[in-house]
């Protein structure tokens, strides 16, 4: 009987995940430790912003990750829709909470960084506003994926939504940038400082890498959870239909 990988457990993925998870865990801890050390003890304070620039070492990587997770959701969704690969659907569904967390953190750290610089917690700055809209796209995705009784239905509908969303992200970015320059006085201090000094670049990259391995770590854990939940559902259905 041809192996029905939708029903049989995707053993290849489960084995890979089981092996990968601890490595990702240790990589995250190590990279984060080194990154934070560099960020606090090696990188120089900003001549204008002083120590508050260190928030950049969390704000910038979380912003990158927010976008990176959304794009990987779109790629996973496309794979799921086009090649009907069941695990791809699960990857998209499990990435959403991680992406939404990073997106929220980017907003939180952005506003905490903005307070000493601009005097208020929220400024309709182009980047922050786009990040806020991206958060709405995440919340819309998460709401849709859980709005159906049959999870396969939820996965299909939300895959289409994330593909429509990923097409709209650049359009929204363009519109918000235009809207922002129209209303915002031009004197906004550039977030990343005039030029990235090497000692500032390394912690940024290390933190970004740490967040990426963290993403893969949580993704592996969540996807395995989903696969097992699927198997439970199939077993229950079997009991009902016999």
């Amino acid at each position: 009987m041809k192996r029905i990988d939708y029903l049989a457990n995707p053993t290849r993925f489960m084995r890979l995940a089981a092996v990968l998870t601890p490595w990702m865990g240790w990589a995250t801890v190590l990279l984060a430790a080194v990154g934070l050390y560099l960020a606090f003890f090696v990188a120089p304070p900003d001549y204008q912003q002083g120590e508050s620039v260190r928030i950049m070492y969390v704000h910038v990587p979380t912003s990158w990750m927010a976008l990176f997770c959304y794009v990987s959701m779109a790629v996973a969704a496309a794979t799921g829709l086009i090649w009907k690969h069941p695990v791809a659907d699960l990857v998209a569904k499990c990435t959403a909470p991680v992406g939404a967390a990073f997106c929220f953190l980017a907003l939180l750290t952005g506003s905490l960084w903005g307070k000493p610089m601009w005097g208020t917690y929220w400024v309709w700055d182009a980047r922050l506003t786009s990040m806020l809209i991206l958060l709405f796209l995440y919340l819309g995705y998460i709401a849709l994926v859980n709005a159906f009784d049959d999870p396969a239905r939820g996965a299909k509908a939300s895959s289409i939504l994330v593909l429509v969303g990923v097409v709209n992200v650049p359009i929204i970015k363009f519109s918000v940038d235009w809207w922002n320059t129209l209303h915002q006085p031009a004197s906004v201090i550039k977030m990343g400082g005039p030029s990235i000094h090497p000692t500032m670049l390394w912690p940024l990259l290390l933190m970004a890498l740490a967040f990426t391995t963290y993403y893969v770590w949580v993704l592996m854990v969540r996807v395995r959870g989903e696969i097992i939940a699927n198997k439970i559902r199939v077993l229950r259905l079997k009991q009902v239909h016999g």
């Binding site: 009987m1 029905i4 939708y6 029903l7 049989a8 049959d150 699927n230 079997k238 239909h241």
Partner: protein, 212 residues
């Protein structure tokens, strides 16, 4: 010789194997009756044949060409009668039937169809006043109003009275005599002579597939 065939069909709904390794083949003038307990996949198979549902594996073909290749062409040569009757409460019977017949490019055949199913007296009555049986007859009228080679009928006799069932029987015989094909799921109300029978229970998945 347009043959309506299905090869090694595997249907998965909600993570459960509904049927597997299912083949069928019906020629012009032929008929196929699907029998089996509820939940054995009769409706799923009909929806698969209509193209509403994609099979997880296997292929449904018309004259050798997969129906997924050109869904519009398949839509043009087939009528699917499901559980819902698609009757709009705000539109009159005539408007309902002529809309669907119009989609298939047939105009002017509506009155004949209403006549055959004895609902021409309801022609101007809005859909919301109709009984379940009358709504089902309006649904069947759209099939008669736009002749198509393939009929896929999912339990067509529900909510129909004796007289209408015999009318339906005659229409199916006429349709088959004209070279048409009929596939229907039923609980035995319509005796169709010379019809193939497909027992869904034979194609249930063994318990081995699911446990894994």
């Amino acid at each position: 010789m347009t043959q309506f065939t299905g090869k090694d069909l595997l249907c998965v709904r909600g993570g459960r194997v509904v049927f597997t390794g299912l083949d069928f083949s019906v020629g012009p003038g032929g008929a196929l009756v699907l029998i089996g307990p509820n939940g054995s996949g009769k409706s799923s198979l009909l929806r698969l044949m209509a193209g509403l549902l994609k099979p997880y594996a296997g292929i449904v073909a018309w004259d050798g060409e997969g129906i997924a290749e050109d869904p519009e062409a398949h839509g043009g040569r087939m009528h699917y009668v499901g559980h819902h009757d698609a009757v709009k409460p705000a539109l009159s019977v005539h408007e309902n039937v002529s809309f669907w017949a119009g989609l298939h490019g047939h105009v002017g055949t509506v009155d004949g169809a209403l006549e055959t199913l004895a609902i021409s007296h309801l022609s101007d009555v809005p859909g919301r006043f109709l009984s379940a049986g009358q709504k089902r007859r309006v649904n069947l009228a759209r099939v008669l109003a736009a002749p198509s080679p393939l009929w896929l009928l999912d339990e067509p006799t529900t909510a129909l009275d004796k007289a209408t069932i015999t009318t339906l029987e005659r229409q199916i015989a006429e349709h088959r005599a004209g070279g048409g094909i009929v596939v229907l799921s039923t609980h035995g109300e319509i005796p169709l002579e010379g019809a193939g029978v497909l027992e869904l229970a034979h194609f249930q998945a063994g318990s081995g597939e699911i446990a894994a």
